[in-house]
Amino acid sequence: MSDFLQQLRAVVGDRFVLTNPASLLAYESDALTLFRCQPAAVVLPENKLQVAACVKILHQAQIPFAARGAGTGLSGGALVPAGGVILAMARMRRILEINADGGWAVVEPGVVNAELGRQVAPLGLRYAPDPASQTVSTLGGNAAENSGGPQCFLHGTTSQHILAAEVVLADGRLQTWGTATSFSDPLDLRGFLLGSEGTVGVIVALTVRLIPSPPSIVTLMAAFDSVATACASVSSIVSAGQQPVALEVMDQKTIHAVEASVYRAGLPKDAGAVLIVEVEGVAERTHKDAEAIEKILRQHNPMSIEKADTPEKRVAVWKGRKGAGGALGQLGPDSFVMDGVVPRSKLVEIMDYVDEIEQKFGLKIANLFHAGDGNIHPHITYDASDADEVELVEEAGTKILRKCLELGGSITGEHGVGLEKQHLMAEQFSADEIQIMESLRAVLNPQNLLNPDKGLPMKRGCAEAFHRHHRSAT
């Protein structure tokens, strides 16, 4: 057994260092199964001191490593090259402190997003970022990716809800960036860490912002004959100065998949698209806003408008929306969930282009997206055992993201660059801008041991460390 593995076992205990190939199987990819690479070992530390000790050992042995939450990432961010080590945060799932008066909580990185919500709800509080994976994904992973979610239209992404982070640096030193009550630090390394895809530090604790639960919520569900009409109604709502919490669209393929699954929410199957609009706040205001929005929706000739006016109905609607990604899994053996952003005013244009790509490439693409943010998620169904189809999917995905850039958008709104979108970074940023990002990363991660080769374009020769997955036909 390698020296470094012996040392790691001495820190966390034998049973928390996994090296058996069968055990490692679950760690060879994240939710983007297009990329796979089995780590040499998976280590499950119990607390921050163990993390720091493990990182020191790995740093000394010059072993590449990456932290991993629940592995729900969608860009291949939680993989290490062959010979690398995964630090799995599954045992670090304690909520260390809740300060209801101060409006914050301190959590370990392995706490599941929705679990924090459950714990603070009785105090009249909530944690706002709500990625669709929130029943499984962890706060550490959410912070590393700067996750979004439907409610981010009003409340902002994860970075606006993390007040401070305690991190283990690439050499094993512990540092705290940010404060619970301070508005800013002398240098906002907390902000630099969030969304850095685990490349500048291992998060071992987070101070998260809690906000009051809204006294009143109204959720509207409008059915339209097409995605274009749903998008047009979104533009009208925004132009009217309304500020809903969420504006979510699902197309017909998604509606059918949801209704055929355990997530069924009573969505109208004959609709070309469904728009979910949610408003929250003081009761008087919420109802006034909902009425105004309903009026706007009616100007676009909806097939129907339903109001989820009880908590049960609202839960059902959101179960359908947040379960849609899972429901779409039934359309084929493999899925590629994309993530791109366009200015909201270009939504119709990009959705037309996605349709064009679907026809041209003969693929099956379903769409569900955060319309308020212009954040699209084309969901391509394919068969990984068909090498030609895999190539086609990648080419289609690249074309869609290039179109996002052409329309003034971004190659990723919430899933991150990971391994998936590195080849497009040079199309969004100039050579100088990428070099600056590399140089800033090198200050905190000088040897590139910490989640190597993610987020930024790889150096020549590094790409071979991760292989694209072509599943053998059975």
């Binding site: 508005f183 003081v282 970074m425």
Partner: protein
């Protein structure tokens, strides 16, 4: 934004770039400033010998996209000018604070200045979607994106802004906009200690002279004891709030875990400590202490020292 830069540099941009190149060639330290209206109270004062690179001449609003609720403006524009321009579109920057008439957008974002709307909109820096920067070696780069959501690459904007003009000069900023509240009502609570119910989320909330002021949007009667003092933005309470923003930001707050560590290290108990909410440079403390009448037995924790990472980051931003 895409690939290689297609940024059009104005004469004022080029002038600043020239000054930066000269400072770089001469090995001089430089510092980005606007009108310097926030010096002392929010950011450390400049040092003798610093080359001051002023963005005050950069005053253009490049575009306002009402449909996407975004705009791009020069760093030297005054927030008040931007507020007025956005009024025409029924939009606002999610910010309200002091110095808006005399300061600059660049100063506002760089200084970490407070906002009365921080509770509902986040900090001024949270409104930044993208930016254009002049680096110490004369290069011009952009960060972020034009859209309201992007996680491509590192959040360089936040890092550079937090360095308060010591890492790069912010030339232009792409900002997120919000609909202007049509019905913002101010309430005053009888005592500063009285807290609104947890379920209410005020748009703004500050204390002054032993009273607590709060604003809610479109709410007729948020609290039985509260006295409504105004019903529209722009009248007395709002102006008062802006003027008193410096004082308001130094609330006595519940210490967070990291402050607790600092207090422990300083040998102070929780009860003895007044937690200063955020940046206030040491030179401004005596005046601030007078302004807010520190309770007996209070102590002021030292402001955090400059980040130990600053020098390395500054070096990293120069062409290798």
């Amino acid at each position: 934004m895409s690939g290689e830069s297609d940024l059009i540099m104005t004469a004022a941009h080029l002038d600043l770039q020239q000054q930066m190149l000269q400072a770089h060639a001469a090995g001089l330290t430089w510092r980005a400033v606007g009108t310097q209206s926030r010096m002392q109270s929010f950011v450390p004062p400049t040092k003798a010998g610093d080359v001051l690179l002023s963005t005050a001449e950069l005053q253009q609003i490049h575009w306002i996209d009402a449909e996407d609720r975004t705009c791009e403006v020069d760093a030297g524009l005054s927030p008040a000018t931007l507020h007025a321009a956005l009024d025409e579109y029924g939009l606002m920057l999610g910010h309200s604070g002091c110095n808006d008439d005399v300061g600059t957008i660049g100063g506002l974002l760089n200084s970490g200045a407070p906002s009365l709307l921080a509770g509902s909109c986040g900090l001024p820096r949270d409104q930044v979607l993208g930016a254009t920067w002049l680096l110490g070696d004369g290069r011009v780069i952009r960060s972020g994106a034009r859209v309201v959501k992007s996680v491509a690459g590192y959040d360089v904007s936040r890092l550079l802004l937090s360095a308060q003009g010591q890492l790069a000069v912010g030339l232009r900023f792409i900002l997120r906009l919000r609909p202007r509240p049509s019905d913002l009502r101010w309430y005053v609570l009888p005592t500063a200690l009285q807290r609104p119910p947890a379920s209410w989320r005020p748009r703004a909330d500050f204390q002054q002279d032993g009273r607590r002021f709060a604003a809610w949007e479109g709410c007729d009667s948020p609290l039985p004891l509260a006295q409504s003092i105004s019903s529209h933005e722009g009248d007395t309470a709002w102006k008062l709030a802006r003027q008193q923003c410096i004082v308001a930001k130094h609330w006595v707050a519940t210490p967070g875990p990291w402050q607790a560590q600092e207090m422990q290290a300083a040998g102070l108990s929780m009860q003895q400590c007044l937690i200063f909410d955020h940046l206030a440079h040491q030179s401004a403390w005596p005046q601030l202490a007078e302004d807010i009448s520190l309770p007996a037995g209070s102590a002021v924790l030292p402001h955090r020292q400059a980040s130990p990472w600053l020098a390395a980051m500054r070096q990293a931003l120069l062409r290798s």
